[in-house]
Subunit: 282 residues, 4 copies
Amino acid sequence: MASAVLLLSCPDRRGIVAEVANFILEHDGNVLHADQHVDHLDGVFFQRVEFDLDSFALGRDDIWPAFAPIADRFAMAAVLRFSDDRLPAAFLASRQPHCLDDLLMRWHSGELPCDLRVVISNHDDHAALCESLGVPFRHLPMTPETKPAQDAALLDHLRSYDVELVVLARYMQIVPPSVTAAYANRIINIHHSFLPAFIGANPYRQAHERGVKLIGATAHYATDDLDEGPIIDQETARVTHRDDVARLTRAGRDLETAVLARAVRAHLEHRVLVYGHKTVVF
Amino acid sequence: MASAVLLLSCPDRRGIVAEVANFILEHDGNVLHADQHVDHLDGVFFQRVEFDLDSFALGRDDIWPAFAPIADRFAMAAVLRFSDDRLPAAFLASRQPHCLDDLLMRWHSGELPCDLRVVISNHDDHAALCESLGVPFRHLPMTPETKPAQDAALLDHLRSYDVELVVLARYMQIVPPSVTAAYANRIINIHHSFLPAFIGANPYRQAHERGVKLIGATAHYATDDLDEGPIIDQETARVTHRDDVARLTRAGRDLETAVLARAVRAHLEHRVLVYGHKTVVF
Amino acid sequence: MASAVLLLSCPDRRGIVAEVANFILEHDGNVLHADQHVDHLDGVFFQRVEFDLDSFALGRDDIWPAFAPIADRFAMAAVLRFSDDRLPAAFLASRQPHCLDDLLMRWHSGELPCDLRVVISNHDDHAALCESLGVPFRHLPMTPETKPAQDAALLDHLRSYDVELVVLARYMQIVPPSVTAAYANRIINIHHSFLPAFIGANPYRQAHERGVKLIGATAHYATDDLDEGPIIDQETARVTHRDDVARLTRAGRDLETAVLARAVRAHLEHRVLVYGHKTVVF
Amino acid sequence: MASAVLLLSCPDRRGIVAEVANFILEHDGNVLHADQHVDHLDGVFFQRVEFDLDSFALGRDDIWPAFAPIADRFAMAAVLRFSDDRLPAAFLASRQPHCLDDLLMRWHSGELPCDLRVVISNHDDHAALCESLGVPFRHLPMTPETKPAQDAALLDHLRSYDVELVVLARYMQIVPPSVTAAYANRIINIHHSFLPAFIGANPYRQAHERGVKLIGATAHYATDDLDEGPIIDQETARVTHRDDVARLTRAGRDLETAVLARAVRAHLEHRVLVYGHKTVVF
């Protein structure tokens, strides 16, 4: 049972909801889910509508041409997706395995609706697991000398695999501006703190030194301004004086894993809209 | 800035969203919030639409007559409310003060948008506080002999104060069928467990004996079938082997207070729809 | 059934647990609860031991003299408290009532084991409620001109009421150094964010602008370095794009209320030890 | 840096803490962590003490003989473990991969301190992953006819691999009494509900029908009395009317995975004591 998803935003004005609803109705569509939001401060309207394709009067290729005049009239940023499309994705990791392993297992069990094209790492620790799962693995070892060349290779790989979503699964290298520019709002990173607390290096050490009673993790779209990209999801967990840096780090790994998986799933299900440096997650 | 809220449910079919959207649009309305849900299993459509009254072309008294034909056509159960209406309410309590005190303070600070008409209790512990807050207090002492007469008095009080919402803030008496019948889906009770676990008496003792690692609280609409009414909200909190029954009870009080307040607020903001023995909380 | 609580910290070395355990054993004491912690990084030992007074061979006044040699030998910072002692307390508030009301109700119902001596505010909004509860209320209206004099009056009030714990229940005035110095580690403040995120003014506005998916509240001991004092407790709650600043603020109020009450209770039950700018909460 | 863990319980009486502390002190031990608990209702004392082996005057094999007289005198149930011992373990699974995959990845990354001897399943879906990780895999297909023989084979496998901990990672077969008897308090099961709510089959369907606002998962020691074994850990997650059975199930999988991993880790770190049908988790 495939469905279509319209994900749109535009300046808020009267009649948008009615217009979209009428469009679907006129073509015998059946709304499965609909969610909308207005940011009254900025005057922006957001909507996600999912409708059944079985009964729909238009073929897949005819939907966008039919909808485009509406999108134009309201100056919409609009995207049309189909639920059985699987976004081509790349997972990037460094040495730490927890986020990558979790994403690989979720993909392997069919839970993450993406077309995993490649895993890329600056270490080769994950090569064997990827091979056993039938996922291409690319090793890009990084030294200060090789980094420029490897960053170029990274972009080449992403392009040659025709990737549409990049997941930084505890990838400890700076992603070069060439990549962040090419994949704006399509790179999901996991930061190991409750941003904006403890930006920068060693957040668990910072958390321990400050004596906080909660630690956190934040999934966000990567931008050149490190740790400042639009936040998709966050979570915290309770800690106590008993938790030294090592235990904070271990507890944090479970948070990072869970939050990153949720954020990736939301993106793959076309439930995230970015505006300014914020997100709407339907 | 007053707004109108349409809260409606009906058999699911095409065109409802468009119809409601067009109705608001045609009368120059501005949708502030809209949320809908379809229970595909039962084929029921639910919607909550909140729209601005300032720009609306119809006066308050003219809205319902204009909307009624739509409600009829779709066989809707529909309610129209205005955001500045304050539901007349009664709070019922027994000896334990935590839920009642919290609700009174929230009402006193203007946070609970209700018109508190009366507090009724089978004990007089709360009389002084009510008096100091200017809230009428009715004492209905209960003994096995007086209960029938007092239950009748209870119904009389609710009627004479023209109450539309009854909150059982740890009211330890059985509410008589005459009252549950007269106020169906308009009596909110707080049960001190994560229903359906630990129904019946002494849930914290039951929880302690079972050795659970979480305790809970459940706010639900009261029905004659005790602990079985439609659930509005629930919450749990972590406990350990260190928590004896007294500590479980104390931790539970904070849960009860928080969950009941949230459920009452959701009801007062016209965000709850009941169907069967379930709720949709928008 | 009164009990005694020993709350102690000292440089970590062998034999402390045995020494304390033997002290209690030799005087026929019965340990009710015991908890210890070692900060291996800083080499500090912490312990909280609660033991029964009924069977204890020493009278209340004789316990400290008997224990003092042990405290000396291990260079302990040690405090002896009795469970039926009720700390003399003052609550300070400004206009917002939620934290103050909650604390007053918890004190009124006997849940907060303190001897509430006075409520002090720079507004007189809370005078009536305090009066109805029989709590002395002092009004210290603040203007830029009167602040120096009123700050002096504040310290005078705290001293004349012989207060041992000051709770800042959303007190929006800067507490003067004279007071923070006199009540070091005895002033509990509630900050309306997950510190160290969003220090400074308007944290809910900051949170909204950053687009976070969680908001938080932090209870900490007040120091002159604003928002930097030792953290006692923290909590977060999930928010979404739907929550504007007003809704964030309202959701935040519930967090602030809950976190502050928990922190005050921990202090009153002699479960908090401060070291450096951190706490151990047993 | 290896350490020793004493995990003990006995009838509560004076002097236990002092005795254990003195034992460690006399042999130049250094307490790393200590935690104790008294169930005053049942009069049972519990303790977990972890101490450094580096400085300890006794060799590993001499510790128990030296401690045994104390254990005898207080009628202790006592266990001595070493932190670098890795319990021999077996993971059992059926078709659903989420819990098994997660445990395998945690073991693979070194996070779960066990010696994984074998994975056993009534389906062969997991054979390839196990092989790629170098874990022996045993396939025991079950039909009503073969179940008795396969149950015997199961016990044989567990014995031949000398297993000390069995983890039921969504193993959908009834574990035979021969196995539960042989591995009392050493089989950890994950139940997909917040026990004792929704015992029996299809808990997510039951949860959906009841209209709960939270779902849960429970890790417990398996006993012959299904769903009644001692609870080790539980967790809940918020759901709404939007979550149909499929979405509840998916959300539940993340809970099951997290709760089972935590419970297994607690067992492997010798932090769980069972008494009656409850646990103390230090």
